[in-house]
């Protein structure tokens, strides 16, 4: 038999592993690591939500659900989207429940991208977009966003990236890893560029609820953008439900119908247990979100001030739970910084370039930790930069 590697799909082989993974492997080998590396809440899922999950098992709710998800859940999602983001979706035809927001992204890309289509990916951004586009035979085209714009996508940057082959713009805001957000006026400018085109928008709004100093605005709210936009989101970040693996997509019914077809063959239906818990989250979880958001907001101020005080310039992130300080003053690359920090102080953070080349010179530090843990890590980072400077 031939070497197994030769039998594997070339695109899969050639796609580099996630830059996060490398540091994960390094950190996993060490004991007592103080980490600011995670991309998930430190909170446990609120008890009333967990309890409904448990009860659903007790009641024997252990079967498949309809492909698009339990109808009751889609009805609640429809109400939630209207209540929180002023966008309306028909629960029966314009919403699909998925295995995490990640599956929704994958479904959308596989549903709309033809081989050779270009997909615009503002960077730095979450690591999954490019590989998923590659796997679908598309071409991911990075757009480098800049720290001086607080990593917002500008109309000018977008214009320059558009070609006749452009099929999709991915809009990953509030942003992982930078914490950057798009304000209404920023989205208006983007909309102005898109209006005359046939470009679809995949708006990844998984961190929408974690927006500080103001309300999240979805691009679907902007005039002329609703019909071309699919919003993907999920329960992981806002309700601290990462392990339940539950997300959703809302958008044009033709796209959702075709996404449901792909989902039907690949997944069948999202976990039933998680869907029942999610109904409870949407019905009675608004207060939980508010409490967690308030807590993240306080930590956000502590970590941003901490970095600026020690001389690592850090713009104020207005969303998600990451700070993205600049480490260029140390003379190290992002990877050198992270590796040396891990080895000498046992503090784990993620190099900014793991999220695209424009993240070089930055590190992603999560503040999904207690203030005590954040302070401990900040002290260690300060010791480290004194050593290297």
């Amino acid at each position: 038999m031939r070497d197994i590697k030769e039998l594997i799909n070339k695109t899969v082989i050639e796609t580099p592993p996630s830059g996060i993974r490398k540091f994960f492997d390094l950190a996993a080998e060490m004991d007592d690591v103080v980490s600011l590396g995670v991309g998930e809440p430190d909170f446990v899922t609120p008890w009333h939500i967990r309890e409904v999950g448990i009860t659903s098992l007790e009641k024997g709710k252990t079967h498949y659900t309809s492909n698009a998800g339990i109808k009751e859940l889609r009805v609640e999602l429809s109400k939630y989207m209207k209540r929180r983001f002023k966008v309306e979706y028909d629960p029966l035809s314009e919403i699909i429940v998925t295995v995490g927001g990640s599956e929704a992204i994958d479904l959308f890309i596989r549903t709309v991208v033809n081989p050779g289509d270009e997909v615009l990916v503002p960077e730095p951004s979450f690591v999954c977009y490019k590989p998923i586009v590659n796997f679908a035979g598309g071409m991911a085209v990075p757009i480098e966003t800049k720290v001086e714009n607080e990593f917002r996508l500008t109309a000018e940057e977008l214009k320059q990236a558009i070609t006749p082959k452009t099929k999709v713009l991915i809009l990953p805001y509030p942003n992982n890893p930078t914490g950057g957000i798009m304000r209404r006026e920023d989205l208006e400018e983007i909309a102005e560029v898109l209006r005359g085109t046939d470009i679809l928008v995949l708006s990844d709004e998984i961190y929408a609820e974690l927006t500080y100093e103001g309300q999240h605005v979805s691009i679907a709210e902007i005039d002329g953008m609703y019909e071309r936009t699919v919003i993907v989101s999920g329960f992981s970040k806002c309700y601290a439900m990462t392990g339940w693996r539950l997300g959703y997509a809302c958008g044009n019914k033709e796209i959702i119908r075709m996404m449901t077809k792909v989902h039907q063959f690949a997944i069948m239906s999202a976990p039933t247990l998680a869907q029942h818990a999610a109904i409870e989250a949407l019905r009675n979880g608004d207060d939980d979100i508010a409490v967690m958001r308030e807590e993240y907001d306080r930590r956000r101020r502590v970590i941003v001030k901490g970095f600026n005080d020690m001389g690592l310039t850090c713009f104020e992130p207005k969303g998600a739970f990451y700070a993205f300080p600049c480490i260029k003053s140390t003379g190290l690359t992002s990877e050198e910084f992270c590796e040396q920090l891990l080895m000498s102080e046992k503090v784990a953070v993620v190099p900014g370039n793991a999220f695209g080349e424009s993240g070089e010179g930055f590190i992603r530090c999560s503040y999904a930790y207690s203030v005590e843990d954040i302070n401990r890590a900040l002290k260690a980072i300060e010791r480290f930069i004194k050593k290297v400077k």
Binding site: I20, F23, F24, A27, A28, V33, S35, G37, V38, G39, E40, D42, V44, R298, R299, R301, V302, K305, A348, V350, V371, E372, N375
Partner: protein, 165 residues
Amino acid sequence: MEKEILIQELVKIIHKNCKLSVEEIATMLNTTTVAVAELIDELEKDGTIKGYGAKINWDNVKGSNTVTAYIELKVTPQMTNGFDRIAERIYQFPQVTSLNLMSGSYDFGVTIEGDNLKEISLFVSQHLAPMESVISTATHFVLKRYKNDGVIYAGLPEDDREAIS
């Protein structure tokens, strides 16, 4: 931030963790250290902040054999000052760690700490039960503390997240 909201936020923070420095609290609340220091001073003076203490799981403290009991107390309220005068006579005892007037089938909920069961029993029989206005007492001993003042004591969950994700 409005003062009332600022106070609400401030007391929530220090109720959870009074070890934080004034600087840290100021950063968390997006205000100045002077403002926080003044506010704390004010809250201490007007009796809103009644003190600072750690939340101790006494079961883990070697050599500490503190026994806690919860006592349901039924009393006859007095004409002029209702329950307050009786309460005053109960909370003066250092053994009484908390005292609340309750709705329902009894009047006062009294928490008492002592070195052993006997000490608590004696306290109830010698000091509480004989009080003029006390009609009856029912003493319940704490066997295991699971959660106290918002803190879970039993089997604290560890951070089981991966270091990087």
